[in-house]
């Protein structure tokens, strides 16, 4: 009997503990979350009884995981823009409703979330995603449901073009990887006088694989030599086996089109192995966290950027963002700026379409011409759905800062 009682008491305590813990966690999460992703239905203002239904648009991006800083900057931007626009009377006399889901930068999550956006939230267009692999997954769903999407910073050519045919429902506002690879190859060969370059890239990332190839192609075409090509798997944190081989090839520079923390870890490990070569990176290298992870290791490295962060054209946007969120956009890269431009392009197209009909919006997206954006003037090419003539910027990492080197076209 005593045993039974003890058992009962234990069990009761356990149950209470579990309940307390769950409540605490749930309460904590709810309390902390600033803006719940899908806007609750109850938010609709009650002032206009005969109000038209809102125009529903969606956002997909990484809100958790490695890519979360990028996704959060983009979603913050979109929420700010939607709020502004709704306060100013909305679009076509209707409010805009933004729904968003986390894709964790994963293809499967993206596909599921995109279906949810289209089937449940009834969006007429999607903004996203920031990464190439996920954008390509999204492109498939977009085509299946005939809903257009505008990628923010997905730079792989295959995002908008499949087997040399344009994907009808995929658009983007950033430059593409062949341009990016070519810009850096030219800079390394002409300005840094690098003759031998080694490459370390991530298999399983369309972005990284693409950049690796485009750089090699351009660099060889210029007369340079690629002395080693090494790869690692998504999720790897130790690259010393590969770097040891790269070291033996004695490169002048290392092209490292890595994505996130891998950049800092690989840079650190390279220096630990005594590699002194200059490191070269793509647009993913714009990330202030890099200076905490690998300040000394990345000193003197060069990277390509789609925009110059100190461009005065960005100031107005930066000020608005800072006033709302208390931090400058751009600490994590140019994502906020591209989210802004993706939104501009989409809104402009919906305006011209005159209705929230996905097919009409698609047709108008294709006709986007000379639209002033904050990352440059946007004209979408009908042939590949990429913005025309976007130039790149070379930055150098010096003493914990990104220093402007030059503005260049591929």
């Amino acid at each position: 009997m005593t045993r039974g009682m003890i058992w009962l008491a234990r069990r009761t305590i356990m149950v209470i503990l579990v309940i307390l813990l769950t409540t605490a966690i749930v309460a904590g999460c709810v309390g902390e979350k600033k803006a719940p992703a899908p806007a609750p239905e109850a938010e609709k203002p009650a002032e206009a009884p005969k109000e038209k239904p809102p125009i529903s648009i969606g956002y997909l991006g990484p809100l958790t995981g490695d890519g979360a800083p990028w996704g959060k900057a983009e979603l913050n931007t979109l929420e700010m823009l939607v709020e502004d626009m709704n306060q100013k009377g909305g679009l076509l006399g209707r409010k805009i409703k933004l729904s968003s889901y986390d894709n964790r930068m994963d293809q499967v999550e993206t596909t599921n979330a995109a279906r949810k956006l289209i089937e449940q939230n009834k969006v007429v267009a999607i903004i996203g995603t920031n990464s190439s692999s996920a954008s390509i997954a999204l492109a498939g769903v977009a085509e299946q449901y005939k809903i257009p999407h505008v990628a923010t910073t997905a730079t792989n050519p295959a995002v908008t073009v499949k087997e040399s045919k344009v994907r009808p429902f995929s658009f983007r506002v950033c430059f593409i990887d062949p341009q990016q690879g070519a810009i850096m190859a030219k800079f390394a060969f002409d300005e840094l006088k690098a003759k031998k370059v080694a490459v370390l890239y991530e298999v399983g990332s369309d972005y990284s694989v693409g950049l690796s190839e485009f750089f090699q192609k351009s660099f060889k075409a210029l007369g340079g030599e690629i002395v080693a090509v090494e790869a690692y798997k998504t999720g790897d944190v130790d690259f010393r086996a590969q770097l040891t081989k790269i070291k033996a090839a004695k490169p002048d520079a290392i092209w490292l089109p890595a994505l996130y923390k891998e950049i800092g870890l690989a840079a650190n490990q390279a220096r630990q192995l005594g590699i002194k070569s200059t490191l070269l990176g793509g647009d993913s290298w714009f990330n202030l966290d890099l200076f905490t992870v690998a300040k000394a290791a990345v000193e003197g490295s060069y990277l390509v950027q789609p925009v110059a962060m100190d461009d005065p054209g960005l100031n107005d946007f930066k000020a608005r963002y800072k006033a709302k969120y208390g931090s400058e956009p751009g600490a994590e890269g140019a994502n906020a700026f591209f989210a802004n431009d993706a939104f501009s392009v989409l809104i402009d197209s919906i305006k011209r379409a005159g209705a929230d009909d996905p097919l009409k919006i698609r047709d108008e997206l294709e006709k986007t011409k000379a639209l002033p954006g904050i990352t440059g003037t946007l004209t979408i090419s009908k042939d590949d759905h990429n913005p025309v003539d976007k130039e790149g910027v070379i930055l150098k990492m010096e003493a914990g800062k990104y220093v402007f080197v030059k503005r260049t076209k591929p």
Binding site: W7, M14, L17, I25, G28, C29, E32, P62, T64, G65, D66, A68, P69, V203, E230, A231, Y232, K233, G235, V237, D238, R240, A241, Q242, T244, K245, Y260, K261, G264, L265, N268, R271, Q272, L273, G274, D289, T292, V293, K295, A296, A297
Partner: protein, 289 residues
């Protein structure tokens, strides 16, 4: 070549710290504790917050990670495993509970701390030591040294103390040891404490090397392979297995293909289970620990 061996040893020493925890729990309770990875991750975060918020001292952070890891380990043993053990639940239930704990842990970290990685403030000099043609990072020397000291202390506890005797007895048969007057509940807690402490230690070193991020604990999968390779339940086996796996991985990356590395690691797991399930040093079914 020599450099690659050094690279492999440095990876192996972190695997070793985690593998011992697996083996220890297995030797006593005959199940694989998949919640082990969460403790490693928690150790890395605890050390990070100690370094940045409390005191920028590596010794203090090390202590925090180890104590925190040990306590966390005991906590989930009492909350999750103990009720199942009391009910006499099948081992499979324990494994599932472990997987559950690890998923909860990872997601709690994402929700409460965030998905971004946390980089430690610089603790060890970046400049490597030159030993002949080989470059060795200071942090790697620290890892090997501290791991060996920790494993040695732990081996002494097992072989020289009364508690160690009890653990060895219980590893043969927990129920019989209980009948002989060993407090088996306390013993299980002790074992989780030791495993958690070592996991916390692994956590801080992983954090120093690779930053702290929610999925850090996933690396314990490799430690699990090490433990199986060395012989689940055998502690020297776990250590040897870990170093062997570290070197194997480095060599596959270096001389075969870096993208094939995990294929070989898991192939090893399958082959060991097929042809030598007792591993390198495990004995078929007699002595353990």
């Amino acid at each position: 070549m020599l450099q690659q061996i050094v690279n492999g040893l440095s990876i192996g020493s972190v695997y070793a710290l985690m593998a011992v925890g697996y083996s220890l729990v297995y030797s006593l309770l005959n199940f694989t504790n998949f919640a082990h990875g969460v403790v490693v991750t928690a150790g890395a975060y605890l050390a990070f917050f100690t370094l940045t918020l409390v005191r920028p001292s590596f010794a203090v952070a090390l202590l925090a990670a180890m104590v925190g890891g040990g306590l966390l380990s005991i906590t989930y043993e009492i909350l999750a495993y103990r009720p199942l053990l009391i009910k006499g639940g099948r081992r499979l239930f324990l494994i599932i509970a472990g997987l559950g704990i690890s998923t909860i842990g990872e997601n709690l970290i994402i929700l409460r701390i965030g998905g971004r990685f946390k980089a430690y403030p610089p603790i060890f000099p970046m400049e490597p030591l030159h030993v002949g043609p080989v470059e060795i990072a200071v942090v790697d020397i620290m890892i090997v040294a501290v791991s060996l000291i920790a494993l040695l202390i732990f081996q002494l506890i097992i072989s020289r103390t009364r508690a160690g005797l009890a653990i060895r007895a219980a590893a043969h048969n927990l129920a019989t040891a209980g009948l002989m007057g060993v407090n088996s509940d306390a013993l299980v807690i002790l074992v989780f404490l030791i495993a958690g402490t070592l996991a916390g230690l692994a956590g801080i070193f992983l954090g120093v090397k690779y930053t702290a991020y929610p999925q850090l604990g996933a690396m314990t999968l490799k430690a699990f392979i090490s433990a199986v390779f060395g012989g689940l339940g055998s502690l020297p086996g776990a250590v040897a297995g870990a170093y062997a796996l570290g070197i194997l991985e480095t060599f596959v990356s270096a001389y075969i293909s870096s993208s094939m590395r995990d294929v070989f690691s898991f192939l090893l797991l399958v082959l060991v289970l097929l042809f030598r399930p007792q591993g390198l040093m495990g004995r078929p079914s007699g002595e353990k620990a």
